[in-house]
């Protein structure tokens, strides 16, 4: 795991001191709200519907136990005893006071954490595959690249006031768990003729204008990454639109200029400035590389080589069910990747109490080499758990209400905060997620349905990623009444696809029956249990769902209600 060097420590402390002083100047009226707003945003402080919110970065989703305990402490001291893990590997505290922010940032700095650039029109927290370093299909740990980018983007003087926010995600594996096709820049680590480099994708995004990213560079040598990204950001900063915030993301620039013209601009600047870049010093690269080596396995681990989890499964049906959904194969056969679901049916997706955070921290320390990950799907991961400890980990999670066996299934829903918290939202999303999870788990349909990603956004800004949900739900306000549009077939992986709308939306009351209709259509139509919802949709298309959702007899009634 990457540990702060003296420079990192000094930098983060300096930022805390500067922000304290900026808050004081704002309170004294020296800074105007217009001047202060970008400054507080770049330090993670939002003004939400009810209170200030602090968004803390968890770079590339990696934490250790000490850091997790610090988050628990912050939740208890300065918030209401819980935190909310987000779709960008951050954690949000929703009920903090502006004058406490300095102290909270100080507490974060104590454990090598910060809230720098978690919002504002700058390069945001760089995200990565949450199975990094453990996945079987990995070319290289993407966190080495992500850490390099964290350093590169932190406090970059030229790019602190971009037209709009700028999100970068990195994956080092063939299976894209980092949604790279839907980022301003998606970085895929690839191997070409034995050499490791980068495939760069640009201009993907969700929000009001969902677009799948376009390939910008097929193969970029590793040494060129920083000066090349510098050129991308430079061109974006100069030519990205600033007249309309909904057209200010780089995806719009890609659309308006065309990829060829944009690439030519970027290449021209890159070529002109490449020589002024001396290259990252070997010592720094070496330190980053060393930080992401696999944990040292104790020698007695050799004994566990032959550990057979089936024995544990045979002893407990609950454990067996949990193992089926929440375990993933580790590249090292003696270990497994454990996903801890923060999606207990009926709970708020992504929320964890201080107590639960401590339980996770203890388990990581005791059984899992002190490594924790946060996934963009708002779950927590213990990336390296010796198989011999799986049963013990499960029992401890179960006792803490953290053993929901639903990873990748119906009730593992991504939902934005929605109208309960967010000033932008036009509809509720968390209660919808709760209702769906409660209803269909009660019907015991979840296991039978199998792999399914439901994603819910409470407004067109799409923070709940509904465009890439196998079933996407978008809550809108229609003349003061909540109305929910449904999309089908979205996919955020390497087979990226945007969901298609089923047709007219549904009222809050009609939504759950509509979801049930969709699920029934799938269950009755699939070839067999191996055909997932997404595979079924790709085979049969929208037509059977449309027929079921909008039968002719009901159509007139439905439309008059809509």
């Amino acid at each position: 795991m990457y540990r702060y060097n003296q420079f990192d420590t000094e930098y983060v402390r300096q930022r805390v001191a500067i922000f304290r002083e900026q808050v004081a100047r704002r309170i004294a009226g020296v800074l105007t709200e217009d001047e202060f707003k970008p400054l507080r945003l770049q330090n993670g402080v939002y003004l939400q519907l009810h209170a200030y919110m602090l968004r803390v970065a968890i770079p590339y989703g990696t934490l250790n136990a000490r850091q997790m305990r610090a988050l628990a402490m912050i939740a208890e001291c300065w918030d209401r005893g819980y935190g909310h893990f987000t779709t960008r590997q951050n954690i949000q505290f929703n009920w903090i006071r502006l004058d406490d922010v300095g102290d909270i940032l100080e507490a974060l700095a104590d454990v090598e954490m910060h809230a720098i650039q978690t919002s504002g029109n700058c390069v945001r927290n760089v995200t990565a595959d949450h199975f990094a370093g453990a996945a079987k299909d990995e070319i290289e740990d993407p966190r080495m690249t992500a850490e390099l980018l964290r350093q590169y983007s932190t406090g970059h003087a030229e790019f602190a006031f971009l037209p709009r926010k700028f999100k970068i995600a990195v994956t080092g594996a063939a299976h894209d768990r980092a949604v790279t096709a839907f980022h301003d820049i998606g970085i895929n680590i690839v191997r070409k003729e034995g050499v490791v480099g980068y495939r760069i994708v640009i201009g993907g995004g969700l929000g009001r204008t969902p677009i799948i990213g376009t390939e910008l560079v097929e193969f970029l040598p590793k040494a060129d990454l920083l000066p090349y990204l510098e050129a991308v950001l430079h061109v974006y900063n100069r030519y990205g639109r600033r007249d309309n915030k909904y057209k200010a993301r780089i995806k719009i620039l890609v659309q308006e200029l065309g990829i060829e013209t944009l690439r030519a601009e970027i290449d021209a600047y890159f070529t002109a400035t490449r020589d002024a870049f001396a290259g990252v010093p070997d010592a720094m690269l070496g330190a980053i590389e060393a930080a992401f080596q696999p944990p040292e396995m104790p020698p007695e681990m050799d004994v566990a080589e032959a550990y057979d989890l089936r024995h544990d499964a045979a002893l407990s049906p609950a454990l067996a069910a949990w193992m089926e959904t929440n375990l993933e194969e580790h590249r090292d056969g003696r270990h497994a990747i454990v996903s801890i679901s923060l999606k207990a049916p009926g709970a708020t997706p992504g929320d964890a109490s201080a107590e639960q955070m401590r339980v996770i921290a203890d388990l990581a320390e005791r059984y899992a080499y002190d490594e924790i990950r946060i996934s963009h799907e708002q779950n927590v991961i213990l990336p390296h758990v010796p198989k011999a400890h799986i049963a013990a980990v499960f029992r401890a999670l179960d006792a803490a209400g953290l053993a929901s066996a639903n990873i990748g299934q119906l009730s593992d829903i991504i939902a934005c905060p929605g109208m309960d918290y967010c000033a932008l939202a036009t509809a509720r999303s968390i209660p919808i997620a709760q209702e769906i999870a409660t209803r269909f788990t009660a019907l015991k349909m979840e296991r039978d349905i199998g792999a399914l990603k439901i994603k819910i956004s409470g407004c067109i800004n799409a923070c709940g990623h509904h465009h890439v949900g196998h079933i996407g739900i978008l809550g809108l306000d229609r003349a003061g009444v909540e109305n929910y549009q449904i999309t089908l077939g979205g996919d955020g992986t390497e087979d990226a696809a945007l969901g298609a709308r089923t047709g007219p939306g549904f009222s809050a009351e009609a939504l759950i029956p509509a979801i049930e209709t969709i699920l029934d259509t799938y269950l009755h139509g699939r070839k067999n249990r191996d055909e997932t919802f997404l595979a079924f949709y790709r085979r049969v298309g929208m037509a059977p769902f449309k027929r079921a959702l909008y039968p002719p007899t009901n159509r007139a009634r439905h439309e008059s209600a809509a």
Binding site: E10, I18, Q151, F159, L162, F277, A278, P281, M284
Partner: protein, 161 residues
């Protein structure tokens, strides 16, 4: 303390100064074609943030003073413009004016801007010491550590103040 009602104030890393450019001729990129070298060298080229500075290459070794106007505090194009000018080899003065404030001074200096031109109102609201303090924060610079040439390379002796 500076005590003049007529001139604007200029702040660089060392603190406040009287604006010594206010008597110079001011011209825009459109004027450059009809300009002789002497006027070019003695005047101030005023750029707005949308300018394509790459088109100015032929004049960059004649000019001695460039002023980049910032539309508002949220518009960072001026930073990239300054970087681009430095990248093209322009080595004389660059000043920023308009919507740029003390908490962006660090960014300005690191992008190769030498000084910021302030209105009287801004200078009284943002005291000299704040600017001097902000200038010291340039020292911690991730990008320089990673091998990027720092644009705030100009020494005090070069500054034509």
């Amino acid at each position: 303390m500076i005590d003049s009602n007529s001139a604007r104030i200029v702040v660089d890393a060392a603190g406040f100064h009287l604006d010594d450019w206010h008597k110079r001729a001011r011209f825009t990129p459109e004027d450059l074609a009809g300009l002789d070298a002497k006027t070019g060298a003695s005047g101030v080229l005023v750029l707005d943030a949308a300018q394509r500075v790459e088109d100015l290459t032929p004049w960059l070794n004649v000019l001695t003073a460039v002023e980049i106007g910032f539309d508002n505090a949220g518009d960072g194009r001026g930073f990239s413009l300054a970087r681009a000018l430095r990248g093209l080899g322009y080595a004389r003065d660059i000043r920023a004016s308009g919507g740029i404030h003390v908490d962006q001074f660090r960014h300005a200096l690191q992008c190769g801007i030498d000084a910021v031109i302030l209105t009287r109102e801004a200078a009284s609201r943002m005291p000299e010491q704040h600017w001097v303090n902000a200038a010291t924060t340039t020292a911690l610079n991730y990008q320089a550590r990673l091998g990027f040439a720092s644009a705030s390379w100009r020494s005090r002796e070069d500054l034509n103040l």
